[in-house]
Amino acid sequence: MSEEKAIKPTENKNAASVKRMQSAADASQYQREWFKDVHKRVSEGEPFDFVNADVPMEILRAMDIPFLVNQWWASLCSAKQMSGDLFGLMKEEGYPDDICNYCSMGLAAALDPNHAEAAWGGMPKPTIAIARYACDSINKLFELYAQEYGIPFYPIENTVPINTPDNWWKEVHYNWNEFFEKHRLDFMVEELKGLIRFLEQTTGKMFSETKLREVMDLINQQEEYYQKARDLIAKTKPAPVGITDTVPSVMIPQWQRGTKWAVESAKKFYEEVKDAVDKGIAVCPNERARLMWIGRGLWFNLGFYQYFEKKYDAAFIWSMYLGIAADGYLRYGDDPLRALASRFCGMEEFLHMPPWNTDWFIKAARENDIDGVVYLVPDNCTNAVEGSYFIVKALEDAGIPVLMLRADPVNAKKWNPKTMTEAVEDFLENRLGIEPNPDEEE
């Protein structure tokens, strides 16, 4: 791990984070090289798919079709502070520029006449767009995106769970076939079969069940490392790493899941965490608060989290990104397509809906001995809402204080670093009783 530096948010500027883990730096480097390769493959005439984050991309991986994830693209554009300009283009075309910011960045980029100058050379021209009917807007956004490029849009249906079984994280790895309602799994399998046939027909590439099994096995290996890393972080005091470290180390390989590189990256990440634990390296050597972040990551301002480490010895150690990697993805069994269907049957609810998410947050808070929770409530996205009343009630009833912030995690224009920093400072000082370090006081 490299030397730690404090980042201080200012009134008008969002702060970039300091990368402290080699696995995060390696992942960023790999992603750049991968993206160059995608450009090259597309220029040579290969198919290239633009997909939403909740699309079972394992199918594409098994077919060796390069793809780009809408939300990864949004996070990249956001981190490059490009979101303001892109949303301006939306407005010029008559689209709203202040809703669905996380999911409309792909469409915004498609409208950009200077696309090649965009982040990392811009998005290569896709050949297919794929999304699920997970909210009222996403299918329209993907349809419009596909229309801009003159390519087909393939929508996949989504179903609503009626049963609410307890402790999903204990059941879904092995017992998924019984855990999810049969009609939902059956339908999802049919949807995946339709997608496979469509891809075979349009790309000329045949789908291989053997390859899918290999992809699913690789993903299990990858997520097992995340489980081990998650467990180590949870039980180690002071925490060896924070979410500014884990989010980039986990998210990029997660978009690359199903590859040998992703397994190696996860292994390296785990080994780094273990090495930090073994050497007694900590985010805050004098750790005074262990914090949980609920909500989407602040892609344009990851440095936000690090500010509190220095000033308060308060470490954000849990976010859904490593949490869901450890608990949500593993699937063991002999039917890879049905297992894959089960991975996507519950993911939205696990993350976004009570009681699945409330039970899970409490379990995570207890495992990590969390002192307080900062919860970013999306104020303009119906799909991202999580049941804020129920989350706060469940955590507070369990004795864990919660601070709610309202903001858009992608649109830097709507984020006021000063106000948000002050809110967290107030929470730390007045709810958790943590005084700032004397040498850091303003």
């Binding site: 009917y133 009222d136 419009l144 249906e157 339908f187 009570p354 049941g387």
Partner: protein, 386 residues
Amino acid sequence: MNHSQGKAYEELAKIYNEKETAVKRWESNNQKIIGCIGYDVPIEILMAAGYFPVQITGDSKIKTPVADKYLEIAFDASVRAQFEKIVSGKYSYLDRIVISNSSDVLIRLYYYMRQMRRVEEELLPIPLYFFDIKFSQFRSSTLYNRERVQEFIEAVQCWTGKAILPDAMENAFNVCNENRKLLKQMQELRIADEPKVTGTEALTVIGASLYMPKEEHNKLMKKFLDEAQSAQTVKGTRIYVSGTAHEDTGFYELLEGCGVHIVGEDHDLGSRLFMGPEVSPAYPVESVTDFYQTRFPSIKKSHVRERVAAVVEQVKNTGAKGAIYFIRKSDDAASWDYPSLRKGLEAINVPVLLLDKQNYNLDNKEELQNKISEFITSISNQPGRE
């Protein structure tokens, strides 16, 4: 706009204005009442089982302190108001609430209400049922929907403890078919060369059907259609209204005050409610599925191209000279359709006025009035029927 109708309309308007209070008139029928949230609950099946289905709608005039506590800011104001009315006991007479998968926010509302019943049941004692219909125009979705319709029939039978007999199913289907047929006849009077029904009247007549037994509505509709023949001819610039659903007549009255004749709309509380194929009692599961899956595209659930094509066709049929696209705050899905819809309508020489990010309580009437009047003046020289 001063326009009058006969006694049947007065009766329908009274029911429409009273809404859930009007429902109590039929309590003596000893029918259990089911509240529907979302406009895609197959009411035919509830009626066949002997239930009286009524629609739960919002109210822009009420305060929503409980909704503010439990629901999110991102939720549509109408949904928040519906929730408020439920938890404040306005619908305490309901035997059960059925929610359809008509929009994303309704799915969330179902999750939230279900969780509320788990952790604070005293606030929401009414049992819930979710009807997970798919709107994508695919055979696979049809097959999924058929299973859900069959499941719904079985659930309803379980609630009553009685099988739904074929005769009861046939009767309910016939009543609903007749109701939609009568509403289509009303629509013809609205778009005729010499129109006899205003937009406000149409909204009222359609809306009343949601708060009274369909058989009673059919009786009043027949009288209304008779009486409307001799009503004055409606004057005004023919305008099509698209976008967010209107739960009361406030916006329509505002338009009519600006010299507009509203000839049609695509929202759930207007023409979409009755447009679609007949349901056949010979194939109850199949035909109910087909009706709810394939009728006029839903604003929330349709693809942009499906909706644009359907609205353009509607606008042509109604002879509208212009269209007004009204989007309420938080009605995000409707916003994405707008640029394509505008292009589609302009291609048939129908200009569009966009009124977006509107507040639920229409607290900017003067501003709206100015925009609408300006728009109407700008299209007054357009060719087309007046």
